[in-house]
Amino acid sequence: MGYSFPEEALEHVLWFLSSDRDRNSVSLVCKSWYEIERWCRRRVFVGNCYAVTPEIVIRRFPEVRALEMKGKPHFADFNLVPEGWGAYVYPWISAMSVAYPWLEEIKLKRMVVTDESLELISKSFKNFRVLVLSSCEGFTTDGLASIAANCSNLRELDLRESEVEDLSGHWLSHFPDSYTSLVSLNMSCLGSEVSFSALERLVARCPNLRTLRLNRAVPLEKLPNLLRRAPQLVELGTGAYSAEIRSDIYSNLAEAFSFCKQLKGLSGFWDAVPAYLPAMNSVCSGLTSLNLSYATIQCPDLTKLVSQCHSLQRLWVLDYIEDSGLEALSASCKDLQELRVFPSDPFGAEPNVFLTEQGLVSVSEGCPKLQSVLYFCRQMTNAALITIAKNRPNMIRFRLCIIEPQVPDYLTLEPLDTGFGAIVKSCKELRRLSMSGLLTDRVFDYIGTHAKKLEMLSIAFAGDSDLGLHHVLSGCDSLRKLEIRDCPFGDKALLANAAKLETMRSLWMSSCSVSYGACKLLGQKMPRLNVEVIDERGPPDSRPESCPVEKLYVYRTVGGRRIDMPGYVWTMDEDSTIEFS
């Protein structure tokens, strides 16, 4: 079939398409569009590193400049995935070092990155610009030294929440004097002190520096030195925010802040001392993002600070903010879109702060743009949830964690089914939901019926039977990620909805009632799924078929079974035999 639309024109048009969704649609039009598109795709996102192999990606997209990839399941953040599970990036780096010499960006989340990988990156990609390692592990500061020493075009080095073996702070001094292109540096997760003079000189010679997130070891007294050399900063993460109470330190700090007219985001604040908070006053009104979740300051200092930030769009804070602070927030910060309230004493038996469901209700009432919530508290009612749902039908992400598992509505002692039901019914654009408290199968019925845009669902200590899981799997049309722990869900719903799993990225079930037999059956019948049993008790074969597995991780893949599994992970596949006893 001939068509008169020249390839070059199509390629030019495709150049403007950045969304993967659009590009994927384009590739389905016809073979020649597929070909044209694949040669000009520059950015690839792999949501699960085991869903595909490096070879397959490279074969299809030969000219990639940016890779973004995720590894371990989300519940790895909470220690539910044992050590050594996998998600090694090295095979990818190795393959790309040959195939993509012009690679510019690597962004990884929950992957194991070794110093070897970092060194290979630093030596293989001449135009390397962006390295983001989010919640990664496996490397040391030596690996960072290689990056610093060799990546002369580096723009971004962001180590957010990674676990780095901190051998010394000397890595920073490996940036050569000739290196001036730094735009963003996030070293907040590192423990060791870096050479302050090296840091100062680095900041001074990089005029494009926009984001600087320091680690705790950078003392507050020295912060002004950095701010004065980088008044153009847009995002700043302080080091420890405490010092001896001295007026010269205070005025120095306040003055340095006053020079930073572009500052939009602040974070850090370890060990924050209330006396030094007003030093930031000059920047408060311009702040759109404030992360105080490592600051143990309490009301009223906390409330006072937050109330001054009238432009705030995102606030992360500890529950020291209490209901009163949240009420003040709802009055002062009308642009608020995202609120995260973390627990200051999650393991304490009793509440230590006056934070209840009322705080969240206030914010839902007062902040019309509120769309993303993460809230840890100790009590909740259906009435509060219903009110929140009514106030904020524009909610997109709603994560509620009631600290004690399975607590009911504290006023009526009923399950929180109706409350969460109201949320999914009212918030039609809801994409992410995490639930807690006492929940029966009924809430899953509501979810399956109403949560049609829901993409990610996290469930813990909830439900009564397989019916609950069945409602979710059969009803949630947009579901991509489902993670479940400690729920009485077994084989029936899983097997009845096997095909659904191929339409999702992944399913995690731990401490549920899924039997080994069912896992084998699933793995046998669904060749395009990897069905992985994680069991630290030893081979599942050594127990009866009906015995539930500890943990189950199921994900779709075109890459075949994993070959890098540790001893406690078993893949259920066509080779598994089902024995009937």
Partner: protein, 230 residues
Amino acid sequence: MELELGLSLPNHNPIMMKGLLDLNCSSDNEMELKRNKFHKNNYKKQTFLGDHDDDDDDEHGNVEVESNKSLSLFLWSGQPNDEEDDSPREKWRKLHLNDREIDEENHEIVGWPPINSWRRELLHHHHQGGGWMVVNHRRGERLRNSMYVKVKMEGVAIGRKIDLRLYNSYHTLTNALIEMFAKYNGIGRKKVDYTILYQDKEGDWMLAGDVPWEAFIESVQRMEILRNEK
């Protein structure tokens, strides 16, 4: 476990087939079959509408288009099975009674509440009551970063935590404490007699003010305020 395996061929109709046995015929003979009413599973075209990958803040477009497929490994009525003695929840409870991973030291459930290791570490230090943290590896100094102790006032349900680094004498500490509790408990700031006690390293309750401030700071684990209203 009684299963009826149903594998339908990919077609455009939802499953409406009764007792369609699958390719796995041999094993079916060995299994106990139970005729259940089946549940209609209708998988529409699956598209990922999200331009967002919502793990945390990331937003990323990721779309797959799946063809219509009806595939169920288990035709199930969707009704809870009446014939079983234990409800699934009971069964699950019994199964996991001993399995539940409890962190021996802390009597906590593993991974609950869901906060990541960074926050856990921060809170761990914070709650040590006089916690010290090594900050400077090279110089090997132990720098005091926080000195939080719990303070309870008699008759007040919720205790507070204060950072003792902020004070340099009993006088400043006492004023701060009274201010703090007055604010939250609507107690008038009249000159009510307060007795401040603290628990020392040995676990004994002592009267604050008896020992020099430095010794107090070294030893205090937690505090309690008694009101002596005359």
